[in-house]
Amino acid sequence: MRIPKFLLSILLIACLVMAVGLPAYAAKTIKIGVIGPMKFVQGKGHWNGATMAAEEINAKGGLWVGKKKMKIELVKLDSNEFLSMTDATNAMELAITRHKVDFLVGGFRTEAVLAMQDIAMDYKKIFIGCGAAHPQLCTRVAKDYKRYKYFFRGTPFNSMYLVKTCFIHMATVGGIMKKVLGIPKVKVAIVAEKAVWVDPMIAAAKGFIPKIGMEVVGVWRPSAVATDVTAELSAIQRSGAHMIFTTFSSSVGITFARQAGELKIPAVQVGINVEAQKDGFWEATEGMANYVMTMNTYARGVETNELTPRFVNAYIKRFGEVPTYTADTYQVIIYNLAPVIEEAGTLDADKLVAIIENREYVGPGGKVKYMKDAEGRHLHDLTWGPGYLTSLGVQWQDGKLKGVWPNRWKAAKGVPEITYKGVVPYKIAPWVIEKYKK
């Protein structure tokens, strides 16, 4: 059958109109790529936080970009970064080239985020990291600002501050142990999973622990996915450690806490155990995780500021669990990206970068201010400390994750004590008391 010429012409014109018109239609939304290991809790946190933020903005009709109101459209990108770095970089490429996202939030494993960061920078896309802690992500910004200025850290603060906070937790718990149990010098075993983000923390811990009057009795580095750490636990017990400084972001955190609880290892656990930050940890350890303490961003009933309960309660209501720190995609979108876009009146990355890096804002996790390095260069890293982001110390107490720090914390001499609303006193495990009480 022959197609008449005029019909063919109409078809061609229609195709042309669609080709030109569809992107214009698509441009009515602001596309945010949420990238993370979506089949895992970390990725779910990324997505849940971003979903809440997008719904909140869209319920108000969207954001003013100049004279145009644009809604938020989220694009879910599974980086599968726990298993494949290639999947992570492919997801990033896909986000930018096929989905044409305007902004990117997420990422978890430093190894993967470093690679994804490069791709985002190639395309000059603003990428706000919400998971990886290695300082290199931001020192890259200072060293090669022109290339890396589109990267910002959204959460958590870098591993040097993570370890600093852990030291404060250790000193606090060590002080309680000295007072309650009469231990003159607390012995510490460092147990850190084998991962890049942990390396600078171990070096810092080995140097700092003696300075706070404690003694390092050994360093153990199990695999991040070890399914049996009883050998390590036996060795730790033999070392006479009173405290175990943990740095876990993967499943070994469950194995370690469960087996330590089962064997009643007489040493308190303080540090970072990402799995212990989740509501499901109690069940995952079959209730063996009692008295495990970890750094965290949010906890039921603990208020960092007036914005915290609103976010935490809404998140619990929506998703049935306390948000983990990767859910700070909410804070990043609502309190950072959204107001900056409205202020700039454009989606132009260069113009937005100039505003973001000089701006201070308060979110549910605390006050955010981007740092500069010692030479005054932009780092796009998060400021840590009283008045800014501090995080929380949380402890599992009889099946409930309670906030225990900051509790009358004095950051320096002469400054007022800080206590967040809702924190409770730290508890020493009874089997530790039984072992050391004189």
């Binding site: 089949k39 895992f40 298993l83 153990w220 580095r221 050998a231 390590e232 060795a235 033999r238 069940e283």
Partner: protein, 289 residues
């Protein structure tokens, strides 16, 4: 420290032995390199989790159901995916790894990547000369030994065992002697997958259930069977304990290198193979030809 190494090595070695013997059995009897072997172990762990946590079934009953169910799944997989291509070893290799990946993805879709666990059957611990050993670990060790003894009895004392051993020695002659070689292969597959499921059942209260839990044991199991000699049950048994003790020794002797325990154990395997390429109890290739 020596006692620590002995206890850790014995427990780890027993679990590895359970997996490796099942793998060795099907390779020895039917020349099937079943790379999905540890994936069945993972599926069994999920079945137990589901039955205990979602259906409220007692863990022991859940374990029995899981073993039966996974054995049946294994037999179905054998009939559908392995039997038709059995004669092509490379194809079997690829098909079984594909099966394992499929099982992983299915579990990932159903249960997501969340880390899950199953309660211990016995809580608490025993202290032997200063070493704390969880009752569950002792139970695992005991059950593993019992199962291994059961497999030995099956092979040595029953007609099925005789058929499996005969087929393992010479498939063609066994066939000529009236044994249904294909059926023996299927029975062996059932026993082999059953052993993987048993391993999953005894280990699940000690480990973290996740869709990727099959990968590390697979590498170890392959190392064990190569170390012990492909198809040799005795070799798999010895290889399992050698690697179990090596792992434990690394943790105690090089705490900073605890994550290297797998690598060191695999290096031991390479070292043994350099001295004895056929493995500890394997048949020399020349002799086999």
């Amino acid at each position: 420290m020596i006692l620590d190494i002995i206890t850790s090595g014995l427990i780890n070695g027993s679990v590895y032995a359970l997996l490796a013997i099942g793998f060795s059995l099907i390779y020895g009897a039917a020349r099937i390199v079943n790379l999905a072997h540890t994936a069945f172990y993972m599926v069994a762990s999920y079945c137990i989790y589901f039955a205990t946590h979602k259906m409220g079934v007692h863990p022991v009953a859940a374990m029995l159901v899981a073993i039966i169910l996974v054995t049946m799944i294994g037999l179905v997989c054998y009939q559908l995916f392995i039997n038709p291509i059995r004669e092509h070893e490379a194809a079997v290799l690829i098909a079984t790894i594909a099966m394992a990946m499929a099982m992983q993805e299915i579990m990932l879709i159903i249960f997501t990547g969340d880390y899950l666990s199953v309660p211990s059957l016995v809580k608490g611990y025993l202290k032997i000369i200063g070493v704390k050993i969880a009752y569950q670990q002792l139970l695992t060790f005991g059950v593993a030994l019992l199962i291994l003894a059961g497999v030995w009895s099956l092979l040595k004392k029953t007609r099925v065992g005789l058929a499996i051993r005969s087929t393992a020695q010479d498939r063609e002659v066994a066939n000529l002697m009236g044994m249904n070689e294909s059926r023996v292969a299927m029975i062996t597959m059932g026993v082999s997958v059953g052993l993987a499921a048993f391993a999953g059942a005894v280990v699940v209260p000690l480990t973290v259930v996740n869709p990727h839990m099959w990968m590390h044991p697979l590498i170890f199991m392959l190392a064990i069977v190569v170390l012990g000699g492909l198809g040799s049950l005795k070799g798999s048994f010895a290889g399992a304990y050698i690697l179990g003790f090596t792992e434990a020794s690394v943790v105690f002797l090089i705490p900073l290198g605890a994550f290297l325990k797998g690598s060191v154990a695999l290096s031991v395997m390479i070292l043994v193979l350099l001295i004895r390429p056929e493995g500890l109890f394997g048949v020399a290739f020349e002799e086999e030809r």
